[in-house]
């Protein structure tokens, strides 16, 4: 087995600043108030993901999921510990970041693909597939500023999903598309899984994690609370309540 994500004793510290201007800081210091506070968004987390594994990352809001994902994606760097990845990373994380409102969908598509690391030739090869996957028709020539949030998301996904990658990250993202599009995305993600790429999936939806993943990691206030089997993990989180499951399917949150 080849490891694809290695996380060793990773800690990420954030500084909360209560005051930012010169006047505020001096006033607070004079009164003896604290002007900043440090806390660990990710606290001494270690795990290894093997190639081809599908791992779900769960946890309550503010437990550090996004921070961890940003570190794996390379946006942030750990303050302590080491985080290593193997191969190219892509995914449904921050889809549509950097869309320019005044440029057309087409121009944004090209730019977005380049931002995600596609080269000129790779893009030319996949351009038609991306356009077809987005299914936006003539809207593609209109400025992105006129798009609905769903249409924007479609364009973003269509690009992201076509990037060659060895590690595929997915943040809770499929909530905005309509049903046919969501199904298309699920099919594509299953395809990715079947092709032996590593899948790292962040979600609150127990049902979709159960469907997509074979291992789950649970973060609790920045610490790794659980690492193991999916069903046991969902029990651990108390996400196995009966109401929960139903509304999950009903709303079809993501996946």
């Amino acid at each position: 087995m080849t490891s694809s994500i290695v996380v060793e004793n990773v800690t990420k510290t954030f500084t909360l600043r209560y005051h930012r201007t010169f006047r505020e800081v001096t006033v607070a210091k004079a009164r003896g108030h604290q002007t900043s506070e440090k806390f660990n968004a990710i606290d001494d987390v270690s795990f290894t993901v093997e190639q081809g594994e599908a791992v779900g990352l769960m946890g309550l809001n503010g437990s550090g999921k996004s921070t961890l994902l940003k570190m794996i994606n390379g946006v942030m760097r750990p303050d302590q510990g080491t985080l290593l990845t193997r191969g190219r990373i892509a995914g449904l994380i921050a889809t549509g970041a950097g869309f320019h409102q005044q440029l057309s969908g087409r121009d944004n598509l090209v730019l977005n693909a380049a931002i995600l690391g596609m080269g000129e030739r790779e893009l030319r090869r996949k351009y038609d597939d991306i356009v077809e996957f987005a299914g936006l028709g003539r809207t593609l020539d209109a400025p992105v500023g006129f798009y609905s949030s769903g249409q924007k998301a479609r364009l973003g996904f269509a690009v992201a999903i076509h990037v060659d990658s060895d590690i595929f990250l997915a943040d809770e993202v499929l909530a905005v598309g309509d049903k046919p599009f969501r199904q298309k995305c699920v099919r594509k993600m299953k395809e990715i899984r079947a092709s032996g790429r590593t899948l790292f999936y962040v979600s609150h939806s127990a049902a979709s994690v159960e469907k997509m993943c074979d291992r789950v990691l649970i973060l609790e206030q920045g610490r790794l609370g659980f690492d193991g089997d999916v069903t046991a993990g969902i029990k651990y989180l108390h996400y196995d309540g009966d109401d929960e499951q139903e509304s999950d399917e009903e709303i079809g949150n993501d996946i």
């Binding site: 080849t2 940003k70 994606n73 390379g74 946006v75 942030m76 290593l84 193997r86 970041a97 440029l103």
Partner: protein, 295 residues
Amino acid sequence: MSEVDERPAYDSLPLKPPSADNGLLAVFQRRYLLRLLVQREISARYQGSFLGLLWSYINPMTQFFIYWFVFGIIFNTHKSVPNFAIHLFAGLIIVHFFTESFSSGTQSIVRNKALVVKQAMPREMFPVSAVLVSFYHVLPQMLILLVACGLSGWRPDAVGMVAFVLALVIIIFIGTGCALLFSAANVFFRDFGNIVNVFNHFVRYGVTMMFPWAYVQERLGDHAGLFLLNPLADAVLLFQRAFWVGTASPEERAKIVMPDHLMLHGVAVLGISLLFLVVGQLVFSRLENKIPERL
């Protein structure tokens, strides 16, 4: 996935930090993205405005006419400086290139916040593309200058062309260095955006644009050398050496005063500006870690 076949075996790929591959060199490895970012910036900057790209000429042209009127006519610089308009315009091109690189470069990271906090890419990309956009605006101004020089009987010479290249490269280095330093600093304290405006004001008067070098030497005497410590002043003089000096008739040329060893100065300043760029990059790399969480 048919593409997978063309790529190396997974086991042969190295395990490495996902945030690696940063720095100015990485920016130029991803030229395709850089080109698209520059294009986006150019086409988006003037979208929705009727005059469009013309605005990037209106601004320097109005400055040109104001200076030309106040310094040329009112202060009567025309008399002592042959082809004062060319002297002025050559200076203005360099000054404008620098101030525009500096101010748009400083805002570049904050303005592209959406991308910076979500995507892993060399963040130097943004200051660098700001400088390139400014450079793009220099080209038509150069054309105007060349036409004006042609009409005034310009005779290009080899030394002048070296001076021209030196001037541009100095500005590119210093402009990129400043853009790197200030774009990162601006994330932590937005005050830096305001400092830039103050600084740019000094730049306009700290170079030989509205007045010739002869005045500086006359008024400052032995201390005139201090004026040349400003690398921008050297760049402007080199640029004027390339274009303005060549337009003077032989008898006028005898009267033109330029600093001694200007070319030697130029080479030294080039080295210093390269050093400055390296420092800018080092500071940027230090601050970069904290950028996404402070935006």
